[in-house]
């Protein structure tokens, strides 16, 4: 059985790599379709729309921009796999460096936010399903309807307005109190580093700054998790094995949570991976609203500054992150569902 799982893992891993390459192909294709000439491409790289022809020619030569497409693509892929994402036109440092600095912050935000969102969503979905068409179901439905339909920035604004400004409970913007000395950078993410270093003052400040944006991220996905969770749960509750569980004399709680929920949860795993993509997208806006200095915030600045390499680097990194998240989800799915694991 173990080798079966190992085989499964390898297959999935290879799949992930192939998809990453295809992702790069997609980005590459879009790039080359939308930016027709080597000169235009060179302009993007320098970030200077008024660069001299001489400077452009130098760039073209240095980056093989007039070489055949497949050569460029191969170059592009190998660059990416070596960690070269281009150079930032505003800060004039390699993009990868910037990404390394900001990515952990955003990842921490998104992961924590998603965990909150999924947990709450699963719980409300299960409650709604078990109380189908009674008051709790309708209440949940109203809740997820509003949260799902509200644009991301509205969620952020409302939270900021009510909790930070009117109630003064939490800080409105920023990642952490800037006067505090940061802990040693192990992961690059504020809470994690503070946790590892045992720096509780920093941790507490970072936590306070994280809560609102994390909840905003949670809200982004919570609606979908509740909906699908509810549907999945209803489906599971209708199955004969639930009736059989009742027949064994198990209490309603045991049947709903131990049996039905355990089964209903499985498709949620795939959903969570999908949600990760959603949440990263939402993070861009949320980081803007809360001035949370992560990758999304940086990208928003890049948009204002026409910093194309940064935007492209962000796109590629995001895509790779999502594909990896899907890979992890595949593994978790196999662990949860023996039918996938043992065939």
């Amino acid at each position: 059985m173990v080798s079966n799982f190992g085989l499964f893992l390898t297959r999935r891993a290879i799949n992930a790599v192939i998809t990453i390459i295809l992702l790069l192909a997609l980005v590459f294709a879009l790039l080359h379709i939308l930016v027709p000439s080597p000169q235009a491409m060179a302009r993007i790289i320098t970030g200077n729309p008024r660069a001299s022809p001489g400077a452009l020619a130098a760039i073209i030569k240095a980056n093989d921009l007039d070489a055949p497409v497949y050569v460029q693509f191969f170059r592009y892929v190998s660059q990416i796999f070596h960690g070269d994402l281009g150079t930032d036109t505003i800060y004039h440092v390699p993009e990868i460096q910037i990404m390394k600095e900001y990515l952990p912050i955003t990842l921490e935000l998104v992961v924590i936010g998603q965990i909150i969102g999924v947990l709450i969503g699963l719980y409300t979905g299960a409650i709604a399903a078990a109380n189908r068409n009674r008051a709790p179901d309708y209440g949940m439905k109203a809740l997820y309807l509003t949260t799902w339909s509200a644009p991301v920035f509205l969620v952020g604004f409302v939270m900021q307005l009510v909790v930070a400004y009117w109630l003064n409970l939490l800080p409105a913007t920023g990642v952490v109190n800037p006067t505090l000395p940061p802990p040693a950078a192990v992961t690059g993410a504020p809470l994690s580093d503070a946790l590892i270093a045992g720096n509780w003052v920093y941790f507490w400040s970072a936590l306070q700054h994280l809560i609102l944006p994390a909840f905003a991220i949670a809200v982004v996905g919570f609606g979908l998790v509740t909906r699908i969770g509810r549907a999945s749960m209803i489906d599971a509750l209708d199955r004969d094995y639930v009736k059989l569980a009742y027949m064994k004399g198990l209490s309603k709680g045991k049947v709903v949570w131990g049996t039905a929920f355990r089964n209903a949860m499985i498709p949620i795993i795939t959903l969570v991976a999908l949600l990760f993509a959603f949440s990263v997208g939402g993070a861009v806006i949320i980081e803007d609203v809360f001035a949370y200095h992560g990758m999304g915030y940086f990208t928003v600045q890049a948009i204002y500054n026409d910093d194309y390499p940064a935007i492209l680097a962000f796109t590629v990194i995001t895509g790779i992150a999502v594909i990896l998240a899907n890979f992890v989800a595949d593994i978790l799915y196999a662990m949860a569902d023996p039918r996938v694991r043992l065939t």
């Binding site: 004969d240 009736k243 059989l244 009742y246 209490s251 355990r262 089964n263 023996p338």
Partner: protein, 334 residues
């Protein structure tokens, strides 16, 4: 039919009616059902799909969907009225008094748990109900023993598997074994063999018969196949459109069916030689139970329909030791 002394009767339905609330209105599922099952006997509910025989089974263990209601009469299981039982009573009733097995083997067992884990759940539940201690090792042995009782080859290996690794017949045996572990007085089998091959079907039926004798267990066998019903049960209840139209000893009902529907059912069983001519069918379709037709529910398809059948609904009468619901055999309006 008068009920024999209550110590012997496991299940008794007295004029039972069950309704479903739907988006289109109230649907009458069961109407005026009268029957009883005594200890150690097996009764089968026979009828086409849509006659609500499963509903009757589910009603016995309070597993009806949320929009169902026990709208009339009584359903007494081991002396207690199922409709008015408290939640606690229901939980303790399930398994120890009545156990139900279902049709589709693919969905009957929890796909994410191993067989032994699921069987141990049953034992644990029974231990709790009987207020005895639960010992995992002994429980494991008992589970294997029960699998042997249901004639399962190689039970030690089966018990470590997941449901999707078992065949349909094996799954049904596991479920039957699970039921036996609960030591129920009444086992309700809802078309347990409909999804199985004919040979496996025969094996499972034989098994059920033997178990019934060994454990002196009552069985309710729900099926659309009158052949199967005849082979397994002592008494047979033929159902149509939510009513019991004929109810009596199995041999009597099949040899000398009184109700036109029962007669049609028996006639429609294909014979073994091709010289018997065309297959007989029953014309028409089951009625829409949101707007049931006036009068007898079968009259639109009945070859012997009389004027009174279109206007009034027949009550049950006793004839030749059976209960029939048909004006052909007398009876006043219901």
């Amino acid at each position: 039919m008068s009920t024999p002394d209550t110590g012997e009767t496991i299940l008794s339905a007295e004029n039972l009616a069950i309704d479903y609330r739907t988006v289109y209105g109230t649907l009458s599922a069961l109407n005026g059902v009268n029957l009883s099952v005594v200890k150690g006997e097996s009764v089968s509910f026979v009828g086409d799909s849509g006659c609500r025989k499963s509903t009757l089974g589910l009603a016995t263990v309070r597993l009806l969907p949320l929009n169902a209601s026990y709208s009339g009469g009584r359903l007494m299981l081991d002396g207690k009225n199922v409709a008015t039982m408290s939640n606690r009573e229901v939980v303790s009733m399930r398994g120890s008094t009545a156990f139900m097995i279902f049709q589709d083997p693919l969905n009957t067992l929890n796909p994410v748990k191993r067989v032994d884990a699921q069987m141990l759940e049953a034992i644990r539940s029974r231990a709790r109900h009987e207020r005895v201690s639960f010992n995992e090792k002994e429980a494991q042995k008992e589970a294997v023993g029960k699998l042997e009782d249901v004639r399962m080859p190689d039970p030690e290996s089966i018990i470590t598997r997941y449901p999707h690794q078992l065949s349909g017949g094996q799954i049904q045996r596991v479920v039957i074994a699970m039921g036996l572990l609960m030591r129920p007085k009444l086992m309700i089998a809802d078309e347990p063999t409909s999804a199985l091959d004919v040979t496996v079907q025969a094996q499972v039926l034989k098994l059920l018969r033997e178990l019934q004798r060994e454990y002196n267990m009552s069985i309710i066998f729900i099926t659309h196949d009158i052949n199967v019903a005849y082979n397994i049960c002592d008494r047979m209840a033929v159902m149509y459109a939510g009513e019991v139209v004929e109810y009596g000893e199995a041999g009597k009902v099949t040899r000398n069916a009184l109700h036109p529907y029962s007669q049609a059912l028996i006639k429609s069983v294909p014979r073994t030689t091709k010289d018997q001519g065309r297959l007989t069918t029953i014309s028409g379709a089951p009625p829409n139970m949101l707007n049931p037709p006036d009068g007898c529910r079968f009259h639109t398809r009945c070859p012997y329909v009389m004027d009174i059948c279109k206007l009034k609904s027949p009550s049950e009468v006793e004839k030749d030791g059976e209960l029939v619901r048909c004006f052909l055999h007398g009876g006043t309006t219901g």
